[in-house]
């Protein structure tokens, strides 16, 4: 069954959608959208470094994404506005990554594959890493679920309940780095944030509790992966962007339906 590249691509897309759903909800609730972007853009630097040192892409990207996320968290306390800081770091990381890649003479790499993903080239090993990462992220977030939710709502409330919001933030940062590392093959550096945010945003109108929203976001993400890939196959369009396009269409449709039913009520 795994011999078929479409089957592997579909499984990869669904795996990433599952990891992205709970994390994406926190990214939306905590207004960390740009933070996700910055971490993802840094990943291209990770790709360049991995190729330069001839190691596998995943650990390289994971390490750089984590370093990026941690330095943003540390620097945020030093007086710069968060959006300025992220704007500086995200785009410099991307630029340095692109420049670093150009130095890698002798290696012919397809940069587009990393910017927009190359889901149709997912191997069995990739699939194993993607699902391993997804299980790890889902495990981490469900383990700390209540604590994460409390810290997201109010820092003092978390402290008074004996939690440490900084530690919970670290868990999210780590999950984000893992998700970026496994998603790079599926949607690429430029569209990872879309896969985090769009399903969560689309799920908002239908959900009454945080848990609902996570499950609905996962369903939307997985559906987008299935339909987007099918569309890419039929219309011969790039796979990663097609997945994001379908998610965006769901978002628009849910918003229109939501608005209409609100007007009627």
């Amino acid at each position: 069954m795994l011999d078929d590249f479409m089957t592997r691509a579909t499984l990869a897309g669904v795996g990433v959608a599952f990891a992205a759903a709970p994390l994406g909800c926190f990214v939306v609730w905590r207004r960390m959208a740009y933070f996700g972007d910055a971490t993802a853009h840094a990943a291209i630097l990770g790709v360049a470094l991995s190729l330069a040192f001839e190691v596998s892409i995943f650990p390289g990207v994971l390490a750089v994404a984590l370093a990026m996320a941690l330095s943003v968290t540390l620097l945020a306390g030093r007086g710069y506005a968060m959006d300025t800081l992220l704007g500086v770091l995200a785009h410099s990381a991307l630029a340095f990554g692109l420049v670093a890649v150009s130095f890698l003479s002798g290696v012919r790499i397809d940069l587009m594959a990393y910017l927009f993903g190359d889901i149709l080239a997912v191997s069995r090993i990739d699939l194993l890493i993607i699902w391993g990462g997804a299980v790890l992220v889902i495990g981490l977030i469900s383990w700390r679920w209540s604590a994460l939710l409390t810290s997201t709502l109010n820092e003092e409330l978390a402290y008074a309940s004996g939690l440490n919001p900084n530690r919970e933030q670290l868990i999210l940062t780590l999950s984000l780095a893992i998700t970026v590392a496994v998603a790079i093959k599926v949607v690429g550096v430029l569209l990872i944030a879309a896969l985090l945010i769009i399903p969560a945003a689309a799920a908002r109108g239908l959900a009454r509790t945080p848990e609902d929203m996570t499950v609905i976001a996962a369903a939307i993400g997985a559906t987008s992966a299935l339909v987007g890939l099918r569309g890419a196959y039929v219309f011969d369009t790039p796979a990663g962007p097609s997945i994001v396009c379908f998610a965006a269409i769901i978002f628009a449709a849910f918003n229109l339906v939501g608005r209409r039913s609100k007007n009627r009520a």
Partner: protein, 245 residues
């Protein structure tokens, strides 16, 4: 033994000392109010007690196993986060739906379980925060200006509710408030804070202390009058205006 004992506490923020040599204790069943002007370090004191801010000097000891119910000054729920009152109540405690309902009744807002937090009025929201803080039967209730955004009758009714609940359950209360005239009648002790402790004692003693008058000016004469007014004759305290919420 005291529930909370703060000894010679100093707290520094960005090189600026916001609290200096603060000592206080809270005993079981006591209701203690902290008053002080803006920037007097009231919230820093609370953050130090719950462990959100490190002490630069001195120490804070909590009774081992102390259960704290915390009502924050303001709780902003991002509009992208859907959450019902029931889910919010069970955020950190595994409690039954019956306990949630019971806690809401004792906070004066029954029948809100299924509502979205974002749809509540200011008064309902603060009472749900109070209900959540009371749900694990805490030994201490910490309230940080819990009536911001409520009108005067609303906050008077809110403090009345706290006094009723806490006198019944024996839960101690440490609260910060701007509204001296409203909270004083319910307090056993008042601590007047302005970076350090200016004066403390029973409400009547503090209200007539020169240090207190220096901080709060002549308006406090009215506060004292109101305080006495509350105590020398008994009104019907049913607060029927709450129904308007």
């Amino acid at each position: 033994m005291s529930l909370i004992a703060v000894q010679n506490l100093a707290v520094t923020y960005g090189g600026r000392r916001v609290l200096n040599d603060v000592s206080l204790t809270l005993d079981p069943g006591e209701i203690v109010t902290i008053v002080g002007p803006n920037g007097s370090g009231k919230t820093s004191l609370f953050r130090a007690i719950i462990g959100a801010t490190d002490a630069a000097k001195g120490n804070i000891s909590l009774q081992p196993g102390l259960k704290i119910g915390y009502v924050p000054q303001r709780l902003h729920i991002d509009p992208t986060l859907p959450i019902t009152v029931e889910r919010f109540m069970r955020l950190t405690e595994r409690v039954s739906r019956a306990r949630c309902a019971e806690a809401l009744v004792s906070a004066g807002v029954p029948d809100l379980l299924k509502r979205q937090m974002a749809q509540l009025s200011g008064g309902q929201f603060q009472r749900v925060l109070l209900a959540r803080a009371l749900i694990n039967r805490p030994d201490v209730l910490l309230l940080d200006e819990a009536t911001q955004g409520l009108d005067q009758p609303g906050s008077a009714a809110f403090y009345q509710q706290i006094e009723t609940v806490c006198r019944k359950t024996g839960c101690a209360v440490l609260m910060i408030s701007h509204e001296l005239h409203v909270v004083m009648s319910a307090s056993d002790r008042v601590i007047c804070l302005n970076g350090h402790i200016c004066c403390e004692g029973t409400p009547a003693v503090v209200a007539s202390a020169p240090e207190y008058r220096a901080l709060f000016g002549i308006g406090t004469g009215g506060a004292l009058a109101l305080y006495r007014h509350h105590h020398d004759h008994d009104h019907d305290h049913s607060h029927s205006h709450e129904a308007a919420e």
